[in-house]
């Protein structure tokens, strides 16, 4: 009896999200005006900062890599009905895993072996950081939102302790490890392309972008084309039906969080192996939360996530440029943009639906009338 008349796919999947995004941008423009910034000017700087020069594009895609990982992480958990807000901590600890492998095994194994091991380690460590909140939710009913947020704080405390007391190079003040031998570095894109004779400006962009894309394909296959993905989605949509079907919801909760944590942990591949080549503090900041915005914007589907990740890459790089160029703005503007995107694409996602419905009904009535005439 309710209005379950389906809007055409394109309206639901493209027009509606686009309108939500537009609203977020209008809100940003208003905020710009309040802090005395010309929105047009700001947009110019933002877009140019992201696209206007090679190095900018490189940075943009480097950010995109991280967003793909964390966006996929949040999406996988969402499909199982869970809200993983622990991407920050899982990314941090995932990086720890990658770095520890390089610092320890890197002493006596060749780079070619260390790299894959480090990649696996970053996923495993990230998964491990998601394990306890997952188990607590599945078997004790502890609210996973609160526990994953707590684990973000715990990760920060742990990493500070390790960087200052354990990993720090003796005699150095900065809380970070020694740099890894270059054999353990993931090749940067400009280095790789140079081998094929293509010259581009140097930037942090590296081959982990390809790993991220592979991860997206894996997630797509897993969620929609395997029986484990089926079980995961059933658990997320109707846990009681899952039980009826012989699925163990507790196991599915833990499985989905392990995969989710592992994906978030793979940010470490980009940051530690690809960019910084050492263990350090705060390399993870913001990517976990951005992943939430990316997943919501991308409707929890890998294709949408990749597109949303590109958009956020633009926002991040453009935002950094804005903060650089304009004295009144800090990088916190990006956090505000993220919040607005989450608000309009997530909480208020059906804001425009009633109007669109009316429009659609009007349009279809008109075209029906034309057909009759």
């Amino acid at each position: 009896m309710s209005q379950n008349q389906a809007m055409p796919f394109w309206m639901n999947a493209i027009l509606l999200p686009l309108l939500n995004l537009l609203t977020a941008f209008v809100a940003i423009a208003v905020i710009f005006l309040v802090i005395g910034v010309d929105p047009i000017e700001a947009t110019k700087i933002l877009v140019l900062g992201a696209f206007g020069y090679e190095e900018g594009i490189g940075f943009m895609l480097y950010y995109t890599t991280n967003f793909i990982f964390t966006g996929l992480a949040v999406a996988v958990a969402f499909h199982a009905g869970l809200f993983n807000i622990g991407g920050e901590g899982q990314a941090y600890i995932g990086g720890l895993g990658a770095g520890l492998v390089c610092l320890t095994l890197g002493q006596w194994l060749p780079g070619l072996l260390v790299i894959p091991l480090a990649i696996i380690a970053s996923a495993l460590f990230g998964a491990a950081w998601a394990y306890i909140p997952a188990v607590l939710q599945a078997y004790r009913g502890s609210h996973i939102v609160i526990t994953t947020i707590m684990f973000n704080y715990l990760a920060a405390a742990l990493m500070v302790y390790l960087m200052v007391n354990v990993v720090r190079e003796p005699g150095q003040m900065t809380p970070q490890s020694a740099e890894f031998d270059s054999s353990m570095w993931l090749p940067a894109m400009h280095v790789l392309l140079a081998k094929f004779g293509i010259e581009i400006e140097s930037s942090p962009l590296n081959v982990s972008l390809f790993i991220a894309l592979v991860a997206a394909v894996f997630v797509w296959l897993f969620i929609w084309h395997t029986r484990w993905g089926y079980q995961l989605r059933t658990t997320g949509s109707n846990a009681k039906a899952a039980v009826y079907a012989g699925i163990n919801p507790s196991k599915m909760i833990v499985l989905s969080m392990l995969i989710s944590g592992g994906l978030a942990g793979m940010v470490g591949i980009n940051e530690i192996l690809g960019v910084n080549h050492r263990l350090l503090l705060d390399f993870h900041l913001g990517y976990g939360f951005a992943g939430i915005a990316v997943a919501l914007m991308g409707r929890n589907h890998p294709v949408g996530i990749i597109i949303a990740s590109l958009l956020f890459g633009i926002l991040y790089q453009g935002g950094a440029e804005l903060a650089f160029e304009m004295s009144g703005i800090t990088r916190d503007i990006v956090v505000v943009m993220q919040g607005l995107v989450i608000l309009f694409s997530g909480a208020l996602e059906f804001l425009y639906k009633p109007w669109l419905m009316k429009l659609y009904l009007m349009m279809s009535r008109n075209s029906a009338a034309k057909e009759v005439a």
């Binding site: 009896m1 008349q5 089926y230 039906a241 009826y244 163990n248």
Partner: protein, 518 residues
């Protein structure tokens, strides 16, 4: 002599988008009578009552309540005009006491203690006047279903209802509680209260109403004086054609027992015994029906048999395998040894509303080799399989990509039945197969169940509809408070004896229900 009309509806219409829920409905309810409204699911009776109660506003037409033109914008206005509603699903706040529930919305002041003594006095008076005794200070969650319903009626009367609308009131009651309800309704009628009874149970219409109106597909198709009509007459009006109220079936050819339950005890999540030491058998080629009001252990029994719930003591043998000894015990394993399960609550257990039909068609069988390779699940193969199921069971529309929630109740149920039947199980557990299903589909489903029985399957049927139990089963077992209180051949069963068995337990001990004192 012109009887005074409590309610007069003239050409009332209501649209939801393109759907005409009520199409030019006219109805006259005489004051001080019990008036029944029957119709299938989706016939529009609930919408009509919601309009009367102020939940919805009508698009066209006129409504007169006690001669006054009315167009209620909300339930407050309807209440002010004297219309009270007792919903199918009770509108009670479980942790509150009866007094608090009645006071809600009529507190009598900003501080609760201001209105409390007045409410208490008034409630006691009403309870005495209409014989609706109930413990005012009891928490609603501790009351039996019958008592909770009384609280709902009291709430309406407390607010001054002169017209009482009851929506499917007996679905959750035992036959004894139903008789008690009818006594109350007659007492109310004697006091001048007008009662509108919405139901699909034809025997209730015949038992208690003065007049009956029949709805079909959003329209009012007939009015009758109850004394001048019959169940068959009403059924035909409801569906638009002659309806078989009995299933055509031959005798059963019975084989060896495929379900053997011995001294089974099952506890619920709170540790309370819900199935108490029962034993029975279901043989190949027979339908055993379990009759009883919901809440007497049937759900726990089905959960134990299907592998969902753990058993406390006793044994279960399915298809010759003692499942209490072997591990693991879970629904997946049960399906492997030849058991299929149509759950009682299809929305909660049997399907995923947001999934497409073809994904619901794989529920429980998602590991099936027919569409799974080592790692991958072929969506195309699942889709094709779903189309096959839809053909076999005439599920409409034949669209495997349509969201499961968008099918009608009958078609959802047919899809689930198709899924469970087509895997060719040896044993079938079926719970409430025709709940929320139209009469036409009911015939179809009953026929298919008999067909499975004739193919040599063992069928265990759980239903709260006595008519269904009696007409489909070969043997009838009655469950009350976790015990088997009776066994009868279906051919020798009648509602009265079954009803008695449904309300008394063997041991004569006082039941858990606080029925005894007010």
């Amino acid at each position: 002599m012109q009887a005074s009309m409590a309610i007069e509806l003239t050409d009332v219409s209501k649209h939801f988008g393109a759907v005409r829920a009520n199409d030019k409905v006219s109805l006259s309810v005489e004051a001080g009578t019990i008036h029944g409204i029957v119709g299938e699911n989706g016939a529009g009776k609930s919408t009509l009552m919601s309009i009367l109660y102020g939940f919805y506003q009508y698009d066209k037409g006129h409504i007169k309540v006690f001669g006054q033109d009315s167009n209620f914008q909300n339930s407050r206005e309807a209440l002010a005009a004297g219309i009270g509603m007792v919903h199918q699903h009770f509108m009670l706040v479980e942790p509150f006491t009866v007094l608090e529930n009645v006071m809600l919305g009529n507190e009598g002041g900003k501080l609760l203690k201001q209105g409390r003594s007045h409410a208490r006095k008034e409630l006691t008076r009403l309870a005495d006047e209409y014989g609706l005794s109930v413990d005012i200070d009891a928490r609603v969650s501790s009351l039996s279903v019958g008592r909770q319903q009384r609280v709902e009626i009291l709430k309406a009367l407390y607010r001054g209802a002169k017209i009482l609308i009851l929506d499917e009131p007996t679905g959750v009651l035992t036959p004894q509680e139903t008789t008690e309800l009818f006594r109350i309704l007659n007492a109310l009628k004697d006091q001048g209260v007008t009662i509108i009874l919405i139901t699909h149970k034809l025997q209730e219409i015949m038992a208690i109403t003065d007049n009956v109106s029949v709805m079909r597909a959003g329209q009012m198709v007939a009015h009758r004086r109850t004394s001048e009509t019959s169940k068959a007459d009403i059924a035909e009006l409801m569906v638009g054609r002659k309806v078989l109220l009995q299933v055509d079936k031959g005798d059963a050819t019975v084989g060896k027992p495929l379900i053997k339950v011995n001294n089974l005890t099952v506890k619920d999540a709170l540790g309370v015994d819900r199935v108490k030491n029962i034993s029975f058998e279901v043989k190949a080629g027979e339908v055993v029906g379990i009759a009883g009001v919901s809440g007497n252990g049937q759900s726990q029994l089905l959960e134990a048999l299907s592998g969902i719930a753990r058993i406390h003591s006793g044994s279960i043998e399915i298809n010759g395998i003692d499942i209490t000894r072997s591990k693991p015990v879970n629904p997946e394993r049960m399906r492997e040894i030849g058991l299929a399960h149509v759950p009682q609550d299809r929305h909660r257990d049997g399907m995923v509303g947001t999934f497409s039909a073809y994904e619901t068609a794989a529920l429980g069988y998602h590991n099936d080799k027919a569409y799974n390779s080592r790692f991958m699940m072929s969506r195309k193969k699942v889709r094709d399989y779903c189309s096959k199921l839809m053909e076999a069971f005439d599920v409409r529309p034949r669209d495997p990509d349509l969201k499961s929630a968008n099918f009608s109740g009958g078609n959802q149920q047919k899809l689930i039945l198709a899924r469970e039947f087509e895997h060719d199980p040896d044993i079938l557990l079926i719970g409430q197969p025709t709940r929320g299903v139209d009469i036409g589909a009911i015939e179809f489903i009953h026929k298919r169940i008999i067909a499975m029985r004739d193919a040599g399957k063992a069928v265990l049927l759980v239903s709260v509809e006595l008519e269904e139990i009696i007409s489909v089963s070969d043997r009838v077992l009655v469950m009350c408070d976790g015990l088997l209180t009776g066994e009868v051949l279906a051919s020798e069963a009648d509602e009265k004896t079954l009803g008695l068995m449904m309300t008394s337990t063997d041991s004569n001990a006082a039941s858990n229900q606080p029925e005894v004192s007010a």
